[in-house]
């Protein structure tokens, strides 16, 4: 970093900081906001499950 002038040094630092922010954001939200099955689908799926179980 001491070999860069202020402008290039800032770019270098922001490049690393941007990557770190993105990595932290990705890691912290890794399991958030996942896909939720629509209620109708769940209802149908439960019904099918019950039918299979009854049959068995």
């Amino acid at each position: 970093m001491e070999y860069f002038d202020f402008g290039v040094g800032l770019a270098f630092a922001l490049m690393i900081i941007s990557t770190i922010i993105s990595v932290i954001y990705g890691a912290m939200n890794w399991n958030k906001d996942g896909y939720v099955s629509p209620p109708e689908f769940v209802k149908d799926w439960n019904k099918t499950e019950k039918e299979i179980e009854d049959e068995l």
């Binding site: 941007s18 993105s22 990595v23 990705g26 399991n31």
Partner: protein
């Protein structure tokens, strides 16, 4: 070519074929073919986004520019990561995904058209894509083919045919699923090649600190001491010394320094390279459609992590290596800098790889370059195919066709068109050489206000969107054709009509078209939207509410 190279080539083609076949088998509907079934894995989505974004031109072209102008190009990497990945994925990705799903949009023009309830927008968007993306694709095609022909010693036209046929097969068969799966493979190859490149480069220069410290000395000896007292007219235009003298005149003071504030060099690096590409990426149709390929925000969250590391490894490394190649050449090539050794900006990276790297790595790097070209091209062909089929043909004829068949035909038409251009112009004419910059500037100026306004502002109207697109098109075209020092001079229209390269003079001709056109396009969108009737509330409910 030895046994090792033959095995690698066969293995690569075999894996490519397998992934194309997997895409084909998993494609059962229009949604599968156009938006990859909206259930893409985050790893594949992130790598596909990155690999599509980073073409051979980004690696070879911008790497060469970094050898010429130095580490000031790292500002582009900052924009690529912070705007191109973080802002794009965190703030734009999920609203795009949700709106695309609610409106059942399958392409970027279709998303805008359905948001603003305007068929004109869909057809207009398709025409913009069809007018300008083939030139951009041709530039990538020519670049990729030239590398293949050069490395394998084969005929250019034969290489072009083989290269195009391979891409054609998996794009047509596998649709966006095939494209994204192969992109992920190609992105992984590019990632590994870049990591090896930076390690070997630093190692050969004695470590990170030593490498950067040598750059100052090399600049002083090969540029300042050698050229400061000479006039630029003493050198042949385009020659290495001419280019380095030009960089001095533009205000550059070293490869580790920014050019003087507001100098020609500063305006070029900041407005054309950093903002033109860094902001322009937000409005690229082939990238935006990838947000519609995932089923929840979770995939986008994960893709932020993967995408940022990927882009850092791509542009961050190639810019640093490009600049450091000056130190390497000085040390190992009789005291010359990179341009003096390689001959021109575009030749620096290939020359550096062949001269400074082990033979086996030159072959791996060739694969990375071919992969970069293929991943960008396959996405471009797919986007152009959807523009021809779904956005243009289906809207014009107003009949219900099978979208997959129409899009496949569209892909074939656009590949034939792009390959014909590449066949005719193996030596790039100006309009193709400048097509990447032209496409980025146009897309941002035309689409960005409507895209962001459409996602976040319920008050944005159909008239506001259309007028902002038209203003963006007119202003950016005017600036590119008649003002900007690179495009206006290369395209030659200003010279033909007015007898001079640019209608304006002074440093303003170094300002990118996007800097002029985008604010005007945004202002038009706001003013016209405020002055026109709001869109139907029921329509807005459908666009915005789950």
């Amino acid at each position: 070519m030895g046994m090792f190279e033959n095995i690698i080539i066969i293995l690569y083609l075999a894996v490519l074929s397998y992934l194309g076949y997997r895409g084909y088998k998993q494609t059962n509907s229009t949604t599968d073919y156009l938006v990859a079934g909206r259930d893409t894995h985050p790893f594949i989505m992130a790598l596909s986004y990155g690999a599509t974004f980073i073409s051979t031109a980004a690696i070879v072209g911008f790497g060469g520019v970094a050898a010429w102008l130095g580490n000031s190009l790292l500002w582009l990497t900052v924009f690529n990561i912070f705007i191109g990945i973080f802002i794009a994925f965190v703030f734009l990705g999920n609203p795009t995904r949700k709106m695309g799903y609610r409106l059942n949009a399958h392409t970027f023009p279709e998303l805008l058209a359905k948001r603003f309830d305007s068929k004109f927008i869909q057809i207009f968007g398709a025409i913009i894509i069809l007018l300008f993306m083939p030139l951009y694709a041709t530039a990538v095609l020519i670049g990729g083919t030239q590398f293949i022909a050069l490395y394998f010693g084969t005929d250019y036209h034969m290489s072009l045919m083989v290269f195009s046929i391979i891409i054609t097969v998996y794009v047509i068969a596998g649709g966006l699923k095939g494209v994204m799966l192969t992109d992920a493979l190609q992105g992984s190859i590019m990632f590994i090649a870049m990591l090896i490149l930076v390690v070997v480069t630093f190692d050969s220069l004695g470590g990170i600190s030593a490498a950067f410290s040598k750059l100052e000395n090399v600049w002083q000896i090969t540029v300042v001491d050698h050229l400061a007292s000479k006039s630029i007219s003493e050198f042949a235009p385009g020659s290495p010394d001419f280019m380095m003298k030009l960089s001095l005149l533009w205000g550059f003071e070293g490869w580790n320094s920014m050019p003087q504030f507001l100098s020609k060099g500063w305006l070029f690096v900041i407005t054309t390279i950093t903002m033109g590409v860094g902001i322009g990426v937000l409005a690229q149709p082939q990238l935006i459609v990838r947000f519609m390929t995932v089923k929840s925000k979770q995939e986008l969250n994960r893709a932020v992590l993967i995408g940022s590391i990927f882009i850092l490894a791509m542009t961050g490394i190639i810019f640093i290596v490009g600049a450091l190649s000056n130190a390497w050449y000085y040390e190992f090539n009789e005291g010359k800098n990179a341009l003096q050794s390689a001959g021109s900006v575009g030749k620096v990276i290939p020359h550096f790889i062949n001269t400074a790297m082990p033979k086996w790595f030159a072959f791996i790097f060739l694969f990375a370059l071919i992969s970069a070209a293929m991943s960008t091209l396959s996405s471009q062909f797919h986007t152009m195919g959807t523009a021809v089929g779904r956005d243009f043909f289906e809207q014009i004829t107003k009949k219900d066709y099978d979208s997959v068949t129409v899009t496949r035909l569209g892909v074939v038409v656009m590949i034939i068109f792009s390959v014909s251009l590449a066949y005719a112009f193996d030596d790039e004419p100006a309009i193709i050489a400048r097509s990447t910059a032209i496409f980025f500037a146009l897309c941002a100026s035309i689409f960005l206000p409507s895209f962001i306004g459409g996602l976040f502002f319920r008050g944005m109207t159909k008239a506001g969107a259309i007028s902002s697109m038209l203003v963006g098109l007119v202003v950016s075209s005017f600036w590119l054709l008649f003002v900007h020092f690179k495009e206006a001079k290369s395209l030659g229209l200003a010279k033909a009509i007015f007898g001079k390269d640019s209608l304006l003079s002074g440093d303003i001709i170094f300002v990118d078209a996007l800097i002029i056109a985008l604010p005007l396009s945004i202002a038009t969108a706001i003013i016209v939207s405020l002055m026109t009737k709001k869109m139907d509330e029921k329509h807005l409910e459908r666009c915005f509410n789950d």
